[in-house]
Assembly symmetry: D2
Homo-oligomer: 345 residues x 4
């Protein structure tokens, strides 16, 4: 097994980190050699997460967070499942050391440093890394990802909302507003820690919107629409919190270009049948979270509403898979020349 | 207690019927003298629903469905919590017998018989009753309801979506689409019976839209907007099923008239402060289902999104209360001259 | 309304405090004149809890916690929905001022100060108040409660488990172990604050026991069995956390005395038919949380298992009602000569 | 891939059938050549269950139920995830045709035909197959399973309750009652179909026992205790329905033999450390459903309660994995000489 690549995960104790560990337990080309967690430092994987006990991890324990790059073992790639400021600091360090980086935080997603400051409250101190970072929406940027050394893995909401916008991009009138009414389970709306607003008694048997006025995923979606179409779309993005655990469903309302009809939308949807992780479902009501949970699929469909002139696009993903760890592994596979679906199907 | 009014409930074993029984247990002017349920016929209220055991119901048992009007006791008012076809047949019978009717089915909501046929699959055989029926959106039609003998109690989705549209009606550009993205708990999406699609294993940890292409509440909303504004708005209505029990939250996207700004919306919202059951919440994210569950309130707020030119209106109700039984009792109170909030606050 | 009694609630912002406010909104003999909450001090009731908005509370706002008794208004009775140490300090202060006290904490439940130290980690500094405190299991101690000035309102688990033990007390062999396998929703297992272990992602789709080795309700149950029967029963008490919000169901396994049979158990169960809040259900499987939620009932039943010689007793309550606020109001009614079910039915 | 064994699944559309399909998608020695489902006959696996789409199943579609053995392809082994009467009829047919059978129904679990009649309501018409059937509690009967041609895969409750009884079997006084208080998610308490009692509105925010007087798993547990210890234990078995989907937790109360202490229980627990799917957890409160969901582990622990003389044993499994499909694959691996954990770890 000398030809396995050596992979590390910073922040491996969080939701996405656990999901990466779960995926790599079965990935035939990857050896996880390093996993950090301030909470679980010193514990074996199985002690911390009994459901992750696996042959591959019998000898792996969580390390504390590294103080400097010299604390880390030799690696081919590292996943940063860390807060934005930690990723901002460490991504360049690893790049300098020749380690490919897949960053799951928001540190390298927004190309405009002033937007980063506005939405993340941080000065962007790494303009060169930011410039070279490739946005990891796999289906839309496959070729660039293959040769990237730093991938900014997309946010969960942007993945769910933007994938079908990419599919239908030639049919939509982007001079009119794009209205994204999105709903997420709790694992997508916050981290593993119990924060204000994610206690059982406030989530259970309840439903509400949150961060409606200002969510950091709104500019990320707008930027990607601009990348894909060259247009500055006005995005209205309203995230809601579902009383459940896993999955994001986005109901997106768009206006079609003049002369475009339902057949055009169907044709566009069918044109991506080759994509391993996109599934066109014909009926919007058949796009359900249960069909994508624990998978890397993005299910999507549209309803061309003649009466109102609005097209409803519904898409669903598992926020921890296609919305985080699954897409990250997809990107790793591309970066190292493995089959794209290895370990995620 | 000779001056209590005598009230009956047809279909008292369903969700709304139970809620009516719960409310009337505390209503000081109402004596429930008749409650039908094919399932529970012959059983006492407490046998069928242990949580409804109450002094007032110690001697009340469920009757079977009546064969003719002569099977029913003398009553001042009757609630029809029955299927559409049953209401269609029985409302005129009771009216003829001088009993005021509050119909909770869809039988008398749509003024256009062809729409009724299209969305309910039934010929409308009672044009006269239909013509005289008053649409029971209490806040919008209070005066008419006071003198009505037949009230068509609104659907739960239309109540949630239309109340804030009524509040903001002068500010919205109804020549543009009204996009209603609504989410309901299971008690609003179906009856008490376990139907396909409402089993635990298909609802739990799941989320999806349903009837997106054609839901009978879409024309009801469009009709009411027309009644309120005189305009034929194009309504895009997408209902979704929440993995929870109680409540409807509607995220409605509208376009403001030219020159209208946020201050205008705030002013309109504040202008209804006198309403006992409307609560303006200033922040859309503060409109939560848990604040309205088991109450007759409609909480609402708006977000005037300058960037996209769209105004987001969020509203929430308890579908069994303001969306059904609570509003029905509010209407009864108006019809009989009782304080409007008696028994519902 | 000069003859209403004046009531205060310390700790009115917690789960039980809110439930008391909800109940008093409808209680015809009670005027809430004082409600403290460090979190909501200065806010009106309706601002803090929109679902509690009510005529009665239009002019009531939360006060901060009092520094001394002179900060508090004149009152006839006060509810202490406060932590154990706060109740320990304040109960004697109010008693001295002539205010009757219903304490919902554990401060005055255990008669043995050494047990209090062991299970609550506090020295009991108020032996006189402790001695005079009446244990508020209403059905078992009605007469004493009528003349009490300090009532120690029982814990939620002890209420659920002990009520049927009281009913069947003459039939059970208390020289053998009493095995109590209890299950609670999250509102019974912790306070309103999000503590470790009550976050959504650790409770949802999960089930486990907690505090199995040492829970402060175990000695409370043992003490009450001793009070009722004069015997020192060995109690095995295992609480579990249900992935839901409201209710406690206790499956209690006991050994019958020699010669006792099922008919004896049925007779005992029927002998309490006069009790307004005990409901014998004949079949253990018919004891469901949904039948008692939002009510003050304790539903119970037994199964006399001839094969194993064990009798299974199942009982269910709403932990915030019969297990806390409801029983507290029942006790207040007794202390002031109101009908026992006033405001709780 | 000519050396893969050919496997079929009858009743592959149900919960257990789907789980088998999920497991075999990754099993390196198994080719699924046949899968029946009356509901999905003619559909591809991915059409019926989008989350099961996988390379291995690209060409597999559901067949209807076979009329005779000649309708079935050549197979090495077949799983019967079918109703009891269907298994009863088909197991002997496949055995005759030389196909090894793993029956997941209850048809071959109870060795006493009169008990089968009493608890399953069916005459046992296949005494010879019944006699030869090996009870598939893997850890307890490994050697017999290796050479079996018919394995009766244990029920989910019996697996959860009996595995720790096997571990501690020499320490327990089986002349005294064994009290099993078990709790299951809905996927263990019923099939995929929505039956009375498993609708969302009756399960959600509710908890109750069911079949307390007579559940078919009680005699199965008693029989296995007898097999393991030679004693006729009196088993009190009370199943409850959890408002969640996946997992069974059993709180079992036993009396230790005279002279036995906690150290003996700890030693016994540690003595099975070699078992790949048993995990001793030291603290009963650390046995949680979330640690075993989607895995084949049985987590267990005990609490030796000196005061009451009772030992509490808590055990947890995923009912669809160790309680059904996972254990079935474990048994298949043994029968065909594959590593026992292949495809289930």
């Amino acid at each position: 097994m000398t030809n396995l690549i050596r992979v590390g995960i910073l922040g491996a104790g969080g939701f996405t980190g656990q999901e990466l560990l779960r995926l790599f337990a079965r990935h035939r080309q990857v050896d996880v050699v390093y996993a950090t967690s301030s909470e679980y430092a010193g514990k074996s994987i199985a002690e911390a997460f009994p459901s992750l006990l696996n042959e591959k991890y019998k000898r792996l324990s969580f390390s504390g967070h590294p103080k400097s790059i010299s604390d880390t073992p030799q690696m081919d790639a590292v996943f940063l499942a860390t807060p934005d400021d930690v990723s901002l600091k460490w991504a360049p360090e690893f790049l300098k050391a020749g380690v490919k980086v897949i960053d799951i935080s928001g540190a390298f997603r927004l190309k405009d440093p002033s937007a980063f400051l506005e939405f993340y409250g941080l000065e962007h101190t790494e303009p060169r890394a930011l410039e070279n970072a490739v946005y990891g929406l796999t289906e839309a940027h496959r070729e660039k990802i293959k040769s990237a050394s730093l991938v900014a893995n997309p946010g969960c909401y942007p993945t769910a909302a933007t994938l079908p916008l990419w599919v239908y991009r030639d049919l939509i009138d982007f001079t009119k507003p794009i209205i994204i009414d999105a709903k997420s389970g709790t694992s997508g709306a916050g981290g593993r820690k119990e924060k204000d607003g994610l206690g059982y008694s406030t989530v259970y048997e309840n439903f509400r919107s949150y961060k409606s006025a200002k969510h950091q995923h709104a500019p990320e979606i707008a930027q990607e629409v601009n990348t894909l179409t060259g247009q500055n779309a006005a995005v209205r993005f309203t995230p809601h919190l579902l009383p459940m655990y896993r999955g994001i469903l986005s109901s997106t309302y768009v206006f079609p270009k003049a002369g475009i009809n339902n057949a055009d939308f169907v044709k566009a949807a069918r044109s991506v049948a080759y994509e391993p992780f996109l599934r066109y479902r014909e009926n919007v009501d058949a796009v359900e979270l249960k069909h994508v949970q624990h998978t890397n699929y993005c299910d999507f469909a549209h309803y061309f509403d003649e009466k109102s002139g609005v097209v409803l696009i519904v898409s669903a993903i598992d926020n921890l898979m296609k919305g985080a760890a699954g897409q990250a592994v997809q990107n790793l596979n591309l970066m190292f020349g493995f089959p794209e679906n290895m370990g995620v199907m």
